[in-house]
Each structure stands twice: as structure tokens, then as C-alpha cells.
Amino acid sequence: MGAILSQPAAEAKAAVNINEDYCSRCSICASLCPYDAITQDHDNNIMILDIEKCQVCGICYSACPAKAIDTIYYSCGSVLSYLEKIRPQYKSDTLVIMCKGSAPDFSEVGRLFGVKKFIPLAVPCVGRISEEVLLGVTAAGVKKINILACDEDYCRFHRGSPLTGRRVIALNRMLEQLGYGPEAITLKRNSLKVTVDKDLCIACGTCVAYCPYDAPKLESVGGISFDLDACRGCGLCVALCPAFALDLENWERARISDLIPKLLAEMKPPKILVFRCQWADYPPLNGDMSPNIGTIELPCAGRVEAIHVLEALQNGADGVMVVACSEDDCKQEGVSAKSEKVVARIKEKLAQIGLGDKLGFSAVSPRYPGQVEAAVRQFCQSLEGAKKGAAE
């Protein structure tokens, strides 16, 4: 087993903390927190963080004027040193910062900004990227910063995209006064949504039944249509459409199918392929990946489809894990819970041919780092246990 699997389980340490000694009680964090996780205790004159409500978006961290908030993920210092480290390999003065929710594919993002060579930085929500990072990379010689945020009403953390918009306007004014030109930072927004092939649609209404947003509409005359403003890109309908008539931008079925054998070919046995919701865990920027584990990030666990799980097993995976957000943390309307049912159905079928142990499901949160590693470790142990059981 790789290093990641042999480490002891991490202590349940919260990913975000408020340092009382530095806090000036300005309560900007409380006013920006999309989840009301931070409140001001006037009696004791302190700010209180309810970590169970926190979704680890990092907006408070990025906005605290007193630097009183610590986060384990993508702190200013770690982002700057990471960028300095990777910059030479990209041989570019252009930095593209993108929200993972809008940008699974770097080349698509490059096309959006009209740049071929760039330094990519994908983070869960660009709202967590502070002025300090943007000015820091400019000072370090980056000539152009492009930021790709989600559409404002599509931001999974609600305030990350609007906050970034305000930040970019203010910074551009400042940078212009300093002689960096009128638009040192360019902000674009997009949202990735369902696509429909009407020729393949069999008008069964499965998407209508499962969509949590009432985006699809099926009529006797005219067939299927999607209200794309309502679609939140969870991919549940795509994963369940009986006719393969639906797909999800940038998370297309064929793209994931291509990725599966590629990842597995690079891995060492025992090979564990993880389909993970991109909001369930925030991997470190330059973390050493275990050679046993390959991860495919999805917009939501709802995008996991049976054919991909089976393709992984057919291509030599020793185990497949689906990692979702816990039900309460799901960034979509209850799709995490639905995905658990979908996975259970696949597992039930695999069990019939003696492969039920090879599929695992786990719901985690980035709130306590290390949960995914622990879940994968546990899954590996159960795989070994099953193997031993079969040998005896």
C-alpha cells in the first residue's frame, strides 16, 4: 500500500479556525459567510465559528482584514509558493485561476480566455483567493491574471463569485494607478450544464423524475426541453438517462470513459479508482498521490454512472469507490443521498456476480481533513479482508 494508506487516521482537526488573539471583531467574516457559520458573541466580545455549519469555502479566510482566520486548504502562503514552484514548467506569464466547479478541463478554459500557454490554478471556489494572492503573483512577475468564476447565481458557495467580481474591479483600479494597464485581471464567468440530444431521447421522463431543480420538461408534443437557468449541473439525469440522450458539459460520458483506462494504466496494484464529488474533499495543491489511487473528480456524486464503475472494473481496478458529500453538506438539492441509492443498486448487481465488495461508498466533508484518506484506507482493508475470505 502506498504512503497515503499506511498513515494513521488523522485527528479530527477542523479545517478553519478563528484566532482570537488576532481578531479585531470587525465581523466582516460573519457578514460574508454564506452559511451563517460565524456569529458575533457580543457578551463575550468574540467571534464564534460553528464548524458544523461551515462549508469550508474559504471566503472568510480571504476577507479577514486582521488575518485572524486560519485554513488548512489553499492558504495565501501555500498558493504563492505552489505557483512559484510550478511556474517554470508552464513557461508562461499568464495565470488562470479557476473554480473547479466551472473548469474541469484546462484546455477549454484556455480557449475561453484565448490563451494557449498559461499557469493553471484550480481551486474550489475562486472566492477563497484573496487580494494578497493576486497582488503577490503580480509582484512575482505574472503579467496577466485571468479568473474564471461560476455564474453568480450558480456559485455553489453563493457569495464566492460575486465577491470575486467586486475584488477584481477594486484591484484593477489599483493596479491601473500603479501602471499595470487598464485590465490586469480579467474575470469571466460560466456554468456547466446539461446538453440534450433530442434524436436519442425516448421521452421516458426519467430526467423529469430525478431532477431536483425542475429543469427538464417533457411534453407529448415537442418532447424534452431543459430550462438551463434552472439546471445546476449535478449530472444526476445524465447518469440515469436510459437512452444516453443527456450529457454534461466538460464531464461528458466519453471524456470520463477515456480517462478511466488512462488513469488505471498509470496506477500500481492494488488499484483503487475513486469517483469523488469535487466538493467532498480538497486535495493539497502539490500533494503526493498514492500510486494505488486514481481519482476522477465529478461535479457531484450524482454524476457517477454504472457504466463507468463497470468500465473501471473491466479495465483492471481492484476496487472502485464513490466519495460523496454527506447529505447535509450536499451542494445540490439532496443529490448526494440519491447517488448513494444509485451506487447501492450497482453494488447489489455486482454482489450477484461475486464482486459486491469491490464497490465502496463513503460520504465525507472537507471540514475535517483526512476523511477521504481514512475512507479509502478502510475500503482497502475491507477489500483485503474479502480477498482473504475468498482464499480460505
Binding site: T206, C241, P242, I353
Partner: protein, 213 residues
């Protein structure tokens, strides 16, 4: 809709074991979700994995028929594969495999589904219920739109029998008493007069075995 469930994979494997080249034929028709091209492909993958474990090799082709109970649609969908396959594994309800058998007399056909009933799909509860017994002589107009032939465990045409307790059937405490449902519905509609109407024994020959539309 017709409500079906996938047969145990062991049973399917046993049935297809004499053959190597097999067409898995989905059906886009009545079931929910339809056992269409996705189900066909998923079943192919599962059977390939199972075959690997048992040391049996299959060559599957997959297709889906708009309605496998329709002789014209099924004939045209299956015909292109006939020369290449030794058997058809059908994902349709019982009518699908029989359509294949009827129109391809030399091609073995194997059902992959068990057919249960003509059902009501309650998607909120993720459950499907028996809704219609296809008796050939519909009396829903008299029973508030709730079928006693199907929803009363005893199929009584004049109820209730008096055996229910707390609205549940005496034969199956999980199951609602069909006649209690009918009573409540007629009461709600202000049509309790209908419950007093006597329905004579059904003429089941009306069900028929052949219909000209």
C-alpha cells in the same frame, strides 16, 4: 406501465451459457426507467465481468427497440443482427421475448426480466404498485377510479369484506384495503351512492386473448 425487475444474474448466465454471440435487446417502451440502451450496455458489462470470473467468453452486441412488443419495430431492429448472433437476450417484459420468438422462429430468445404487473409508478415514494389486472371489463367508473379487482387482495367486486383493520387488509397487514380506499374516495367525491350499486360477477371471457384494434 409494465413493471419488471431484472432476473438474478446467475439465472441469466445459466440461460445464456450455451451461446457465445448474443444480442442484448433493450426496450424503450413501458417500464420506468425503460430498459433501453443503457440497461443493455450495463448488463453487457456485468455479464462480461461474470463471464471472466467463470472463464466463459461472450461476444455481446447491444441494441434497443422502441417497443419490443411491436412486431414491425422488433423485426426491423433485430434483423440486422440475426446473421451474427446465436441468441437474443431480451430486456423487455414477457411480451418482448415472445414477439422475438414469433417473428424469428430459428433464434433462441432468453428473458432478462421478470414481469410483475401493470403498475402505478409512485415516484415520490420510489415504489410501483399493481394497478390493473387487464380484466377486459373496466369498472373504475363505479369505484372512484380505484380498481377492486387489483387493489382488493380478494378481488371482490362488491366490498368491503369486513376483514380489514385500521385500513389494512386482513391477508396482508402491509397492504391498504382496496375497498376502504374506494369508500374514502367516493365519500370525498360525494358519490357514496355508487358503493350501494351491485356489480354482478365478472364475465372473464371479455378479457379475451386476441383483440383487433
Amino acid at each position: 406501465m409494465i413493471v419488471t425487475t431484472l432476473k438474478p444474474l446467475d439465472e441469466i448466465l445459466e440461460s445464456i451459457s450455451p451461446y457465445r454471440r448474443i444480442l442484448i435487446a433493450g426496450c424503450d417502451g413501458c417500464t420506468q426507467p425503460p430498459r433501453g440502451i443503457r440497461e443493455a450496455k450495463t448488463l453487457k458489462q456485468l455479464l462480461e465481468l461474470a463471464g471472466q470470473l467463470k472463464g466463459q467468453e461472450f461476444e455481446f452486441k447491444v441494441t434497443s427497440v422502441v417497443k419490443q412488443c411491436d412486431s414491425v419495430l422488433t423485426t426491423s431492429a433485430i434483423k440486422p443482427y440475426v446473421a451474427d448472433v446465436e441468441a437474443v437476450l431480451s430486456l423487455a417484459c414477457g411480451a418482448g421475448p415472445q414477439t422475438v420468438a414469433e417473428f424469428f422462429p430459428d433464434l433462441p430468445v432468453i428473458p432478462a426480466q421478470n414481469s410483475h404487473f401493470i403498475g402505478i409508478d409512485n415516484r415520490q415514494e420510489d415504489q410501483m404498485f399493481d394497478g390493473c389486472s387487464a380484466c377486459g371489463d373496466c369498472i373504475l367508473a363505479l369505484t372512484g377510479g380505484i380498481c377492486p379487482v387489483t387493489r382488493c387482495s380478494k378481488g371482490l367486486l362488491n366490498g368491503a369484506c369486513g376483514g380489514a383493520s385500521n385500513g389494512k387488509c386482513e391477508l396482508d397487514p402491509e397492504r391498504d384495503c382496496g375497498w376502504e380506499l374506494i369508500y374514502e374516495r367516493l365519500k370525498r367525491l360525494g358519490r357514496l351512492d355508487l358503493i350501494k350499486k351491485f356489480t354482478p360477477a365478472k364475465d372473464y371471457s371479455a378479457k379475451g386473448w386476441r383483440v383487433t384494434p
